[in-house]
């Protein structure tokens, strides 16, 4: 993974002086989070005499993170390291979509529908999915969860869609 002359120019979007892209980007992201936190906590009260205000600790930690982020970025500039990691879009995309679908349908459509649909959506995240077995396993798992959570664990979960209950 070292930046040998043959490999370095290959689709690197970073400027040349960044030698450890992973750390460089990681450090910048940490600094961005810290800056955001500093902004978000700027409306909070600071020190009053020698007692802490609500904003003292958040700003303290944010400042610390800012410094650390700068340090990591510096490491990214001054040391040799790896290129930016490759991301795959398929897995993250469908898993996120499945989670979103679950959160949007659980209230109105009940657990059975929400679990089954998001199971099928999540299954799209892998190229190896075989649909018949996926549907069978999905149905079994949904049935298992429908028994486990409301009955065995006594959690108040609505199983069926709201319109069917009414």
């Amino acid at each position: 993974m070292n930046a040998t002359p043959g490999q370095a120019p290959v689709k690197s979007i970073m400027p040349k002086w960044v030698r450890n892209e992973q750390d460089f980007v990681g450090g910048i992201a940490m600094m961005a989070i810290a800056a955001f936190a500093l902004w978000a906590s700027s409306d909070l009260q600071g020190m009053r005499g020698f007692s802490f205000g609500a904003g003292t600790a958040p700003r303290m930690f944010a400042t610390l993170l800012l410094i650390l982020g700068a340090g990591i970025t510096a490491v990214g500039i001054f040391t040799e390291g790896q290129h930016l990691a490759k991301y795959h879009w398929r897995g993250p995309f469908f898993v996120t979509l499945a989670i979103l679908s679950f959160s949007q349908t659980i209230r109105s459509m009940g657990m059975i529908f929400a679990a089954m649909t998001s199971f099928l959506i999540a299954a799209c995240g892998s190229a190896e999915t075989k649909w018949v077995e996926t549907i069978i396993v999905g149905a079994c798992l949904t049935a298992f969860c429908a028994l486990l959570f409301p009955y065995a664990l006594g959690l108040p979960l609505q199983l069926l869609p709201t319109f069917m209950i009414r």
Partner: protein
């Protein structure tokens, strides 16, 4: 010494508690049910079941199974969680022996010799020795916790806010020192965790901090939500990346002949003893206790062995020592949690999260106010270990079959299970979305070699650190030197500083060397 026995007695009393169950269909006849033992058994079983699934580590297992304990009374919930924890650990060693995929970092070294043994058709003895070693280590560790518990609690009660703050700093520094990879990144993760813990309302003034008027954030980020996002969802996404199916070489030989021979036992007995001692000591230290312990135990065995060339080719000591160390460390890591209220690693941080959900603030007060809870949990550790020994060996066949479950079916199931679990905590759909966001953040962090475990530790310790820092400065009237003028605090701070310098120095030198090499070229 009498104290220890009476405390353990109390603990076993709690574990062996019977609850009268009067089902309607029996017409008034009541049956006594040992609820806590059953919970311990279920926890150990379910923990092993999930821990065996490849690609799911201990932290992810405990995080995923957190919600199923929410409906229980506090004592039962903690006993079950502890059971899940050992189960997951044991499951991890099973996978490393049978498929060469260590479920978690702690059993990486077990895979070295364990998998070789399995290939030679000796999977049975390997698994049995792992279980026996773990059980022995568990027994020793339980006694150790019982002995150290009371005096450490007394010590902790004498601590003022300044000492507490310094102790937490030391704990976090330990976690950084023992974490793998970049020191800077590990510290950054802890600070990010501290920062995330600030979201929500301020304890003293009640002011809303960084919540952006989102009602779900008003009480702060849910700990369970964050943990399941960072470990449950993020791990799934990462595993999908890696193509979960590719490198699974399952041992096809039938697992037969479980019992180790007399020679096996004789060979591994001293290794188990040494592993237990090493693990017990290293487990108390904050940081990656169990991981370091198993590595250290393996290295030690190899060093003092008369036949070091056998290691890596199926030496039974290479399974016995790390497994014992691993389990001893897993249990002694409860000591700082129960006595000082400071979680030494991410799994213990999860335990704190679970305790908080049940309204228990871990720390020395718990030991005094709710002795049944603490001692019940300690006694349940021993019972849990015994159960693992009894149930797991006959069930090895089932675990092997579970290993054949393809990842393409497993990951959607985990997504659903986690989603329902998170939703059921507060019946809040927003929590599920927040967990999803943290899943993506966790994926990004892993991709950039940031370890999410220290983040969790920071998240748990954040409110405690802030509170003690505030109090210490209030008492000292704003004088920051209080942390170095009070003797105990000064010692703790000095150790922390020395550790940090020690870790950074060689790293600096190495990095510099690399730069020098570069500039010469």
């Amino acid at each position: 010494m009498g104290d220890v026995f009476s405390n353990l007695g109390l603990g076993f009393g709690v574990v062996f508690q019977f609850v009268q169950w009067t089902p309607a269909f029996l017409g008034g006849t009541s049956i006594p049910i040992p609820v806590n033992i059953l919970l311990c058994l279920i926890g150990a079983l379910v923990g092993t079941l999930v821990g065996v699934l490849p690609g799911i580590g201990t932290i992810a297992t405990v995080a995923m199974l957190l919600p199923i304990t929410f409906g229980l009374p506090p004592v039962g919930a903690l006993i079950m969680l502890a059971g899940i924890y050992y189960g997951a650990q044991y499951g991890g060693s099973t996978t490393s022996i049978l498929v060469n995929i260590p479920g978690e970092a702690g059993s990486v070294v077990t895979a070295l010799d364990g998998f070789q043994m399995a290939k030679q058709g000796r999977a049975g003895p390997a698994l049995a020795i792992a279980a026996i070693g773990s059980f022995f280590a568990g027994c020793v560790a339980t006694v150790l916790i019982a002995v150290l518990g009371a005096p450490l609690t007394k010590l902790a009660l004498a601590f003022g806010p300044a000492e507490y703050f310094s102790l937490m700093v030391l704990g976090l520094i330990f976690a950084v020192v023992l974490a793998k990879g970049s020191v800077l990144k590990a510290i950054a993760m802890i600070v990010l965790g501290l920062l995330l813990s600030m979201v929500g309302s301020d304890i003293e003034t009640g002011a809303s901090r960084m919540a952006f008027n989102i009602p779900e954030l008003a009480d702060g980020l849910g700990f369970a939500t964050l943990a399941m996002g960072l470990f449950g969802f993020a791990e799934i996404i990462r595993n999908l990346d890696a193509g979960g199916e590719s490198d699974r070489q399952l041992v096809q030989n039938k697992v037969s002949g479980l019992m180790p021979t007399a020679k096996d036992l004789k060979d591994s007995a001293p290794a188990i003893g040494r592993g237990t001692v090493l693990g017990s000591i290293l487990g108390i230290l904050p940081g990656g206790g169990a991981v370091i312990a198993s590595f250290a135990a393996y290295t030690l065995e190899k060093k003092i062995s008369k036949t070091p060339q056998k290691f890596g080719r199926g030496a039974i000591q290479g399974v016995a020592a790390p497994e014992s160390a691993n389990n001893a460390a897993a249990q002694t890591s409860f000591i700082p949690l129960l006595t000082l209220g400071i979680p030494p690693n991410a799994v213990m941080a999860l335990m704190v999260g679970a305790m908080t959900i049940h309204g228990i603030v871990p720390g020395p007060q718990v030991m005094q106010k709710q002795p049944d809870l603490v001692w019940g949990m300690i006694a349940s550790m021993w019972v849990g270990n015994l159960m693992l020994l009894i149930i797991n060996l006959p069930l090895v066949g089932i675990w092997v079959r579970l290993l054949r479950v393809p990842y393409r079916l497993m990951f959607p199931s985990i997504v659903i299970f986690c989603s329902i679990g998170i939703y059921s905590v507060n019946n809040a759909p927003t929590d599920v979305i927040i967990a999803g966001i943290f899943g993506l953040i966790g994926y990004w962090l892993i991709k950039h070699d940031f370890e999410p475990a220290p983040l969790l530790l920071g998240m748990v310790l954040g409110p405690l650190m802030e509170e003690n820092l505030r109090r210490a400065l209030l008492i000292s009237r704003g004088d920051w030197s209080v942390f170095v003028t009070r003797p105990v605090s000064a010692v703790l701070m000095a150790i922390a500083a020395a550790l940090l310098v020690l870790t950074v120095l060689p790293a600096l030198r190495k990095k510099r060397d690399e730069v020098f090499v570069e500039s010469e070229n």
